[in-house]
């Protein structure tokens, strides 16, 4: 009887562990971007989270000259929500901070904070989660950087998974 109880308990524990691991794995597979580094609070953003924020859109042509409308949140707002030193705080040594954007393929680009801060510039840079109203496909998302009026576009990083604010050395 005792053996049966132990066996039952072990089975229940195994099942519970299996489901808890499945949950962890499922969470790990949700595409998202982390906002970290010189921030007051680290954030994890999913494409659904971005839909709940004020949206902005930018149209641009792809390499086959097809025009697409990308929509998402202004990068400045994302950083503001994470408590990055922008606007009145963006002075002195804070002007030596930069944003490192990293994609899942290892691609990296940087922006100075002043390039992103709407208090400094009227040029929009967005963290796009949608293209022509549809969530970005896996080969472009979860997020793509879109820069208004950028003549050459290698900084329009695809598959963005992290935004890290750092001090220049």
């Amino acid at each position: 009887m005792k053996t049966t109880k132990i066996a039952l308990l072990t089975s229940l524990l195994t099942i519970a562990l299996f489901f808890s691991n499945s949950k962890v794995n499922a969470q790990a597979k949700t595409a998202s971007a982390s906002i970290k580094g010189e921030v007051k609070s680290e954030l994890i953003l999913t494409p659904t989270d971005v839909d709940k924020l004020p949206k902005t859109s930018i149209s641009q042509k792809d390499r086959t000259d097809q025009e697409h409308t990308y929509s998402g949140v202004e990068l400045g707002l994302v950083l503001k929500n994470a408590g990055v030193t922008l606007a009145e705080e963006l002075k002195g040594e804070n002007l030596t901070k930069y944003l490192l954007v990293e994609a899942s393929d290892g691609y990296q680009v940087i922006f100075s904070l002043a390039e992103i801060d709407p208090a400094f510039t009227s040029r929009k840079i967005i963290l796009a989660n949608r293209k022509d109203d549809k969530l970005l496909a896996a080969d472009e998302g979860p997020f793509r950087i879109i820069i208004e009026g950028e003549k050459r576009k290698p900084r329009n990083a695809r598959q963005v998974i992290s935004l890290t604010v750092k001090f220049a050395n």
């Binding site: 794995n25 790990a28 597979k29 595409a31 390499r63 086959t64 899942s104 393929d105 290892g106 691609y107 896996a138 080969d139 472009e140 695809r158 598959q159």
Partner: protein
């Protein structure tokens, strides 16, 4: 010289030798490289590259005592004459089994930050621990390696010179090997000499170089192979991870096995093309025996399902799904790739086995 003078001279000589061999030798190892390689190098603050550290690391790199059967060293799968690869599809470990991936070239690691085909190790020190202790590679716990080295007559003094005392620790083993690996700089190929205006490429090499660096734009009648997209710059190395269309469904999931992300399926580290003509077979699973086969793959056989986005539609034909290079263009690209062979590097005596000069 009378006998008293001989005794004094011998004593002074012995004393000097004793101080010399027993002292920490902090002389930095000069890491020299062309300015166009850039200075985005990775050397941890706690492991500066010193002459004594590099010499110790070189000895350890070729030391079979670091393997469970005392027969395999790092140099077994990373032979200098093959730009530190082994010419095999997969390498044999101490237990006789084969590795699951192809041995990677050890070239210009000073500029690398993530290691292995799946980038799982950050920094050379972390990387070095894997093959040493993997049961299918050298198969020996680092603590056992440290114990074996303590019994060897030559190592305590080499550790003292490198680190200030004779302690042989796990960390010091990987630190010294990393110091040696950072010195493996290849920067004297015909391509380097061309960049310094001391080598005149042949017409076909120049054509290959142009194709290598050009993105195809068939609508503008611009032909290219766009290799530089991932292998660009003077180092022909960018630290990127891509799916290059080898399989629709890859049996080896690459970095997806670590991240769990479907978008990472079949993604592997983009290797340097330095000395690429010496490092066959190619790809993470060594499936291609020749550069011709590699060019044929990019030209005609890219599998689309998980292909990295920049490769989708990259073609010399409007609507094409692979590069569609001509036979002559492939020959030209291969001619350029051969310009990346650095014979100075593969014959540099500072990189060779110190026990077999």
């Amino acid at each position: 010289m009378n006998s008293f003078a001989k005794v004094i001279t011998t004593l002074i000589g012995s004393f000097t030798l004793l101080i010399w061999v027993g002292k920490l030798d902090p002389a930095p190892y000069p890491l020299t490289y062309p300015s166009n390689f850039g200075n985005r190098i990775s050397i941890p603050q706690n492991n500066p590259t010193t002459q004594a550290g590099v010499y110790l690391g070189r000895n350890l790199f070729y030391e079979p005592l670091l393997s469970a059967n005392n027969k395999i060293s790092c140099g077994s799968c990373h032979e200098q004459k093959r730009a530190f690869t082994d010419g095999k599809v997969f390498s044999s470990g101490v237990d006789g089994t084969l590795t699951s991936r192809n041995s990677m070239a050890l070239v210009n690691l000073l500029w690398a930050r993530r290691f292995f085909w799946d980038g799982r190790a950050t920094g050379l020190e972390a990387q070095a621990a894997f093959p040493l202790s993997d049961p299918h590679e050298m198969g020996q716990a680092l603590t056992v390696s440290a114990a074996k080295l303590r019994q060897s007559p030559k190592y305590p003094i080499l550790f003292q010179k490198a680190f200030g005392d004779t302690a042989i620790t796990v960390n010091r083993i990987t630190m010294a090997i990393s110091q040696f690996e950072r010195t493996l700089i290849s920067a004297d190929s015909p391509y380097d000499r061309y960049l310094k205006n001391t080598y005149k490429p042949s017409p076909i090499e120049l054509e290959g170089m142009r194709l290598f660096n050009t993105m195809p734009q068939p609508r503008k009648k611009i032909r290219g192979a766009d290799c530089a997209h991932c292998h660009g710059g003077a180092k022909t190395y960018l630290e990127l991870f891509h799916n290059n269309g080898l399989d629709e469904i890859s049996t080896d999931k690459g970095i997806a096995a670590i991240t769990g992300m479907d978008s990472d399926h079949g993604r592997f580290k983009i290797p340097t093309l330095r000395n690429i003509a010496l490092t066959a077979p190619y790809m993470h699973d060594g499936r291609f025996n020749s550069l011709q086969q590699v060019l044929d793959h990019y030209s005609e056989h890219l599998k689309q399902k998980h292909l990295s986005p920049f490769l989708k539609g990259s073609s010399n034909k409007i609507g094409g799904t692979s590069l569609q290079l001509s036979a002559h263009e492939k020959k030209a690209v291969i001619a350029f790739l051969n310009m990346l062979t650095d014979t100075t590097f593969i014959h540099n005596p500072e990189f060779s086995n110190p026990n077999h000069p």
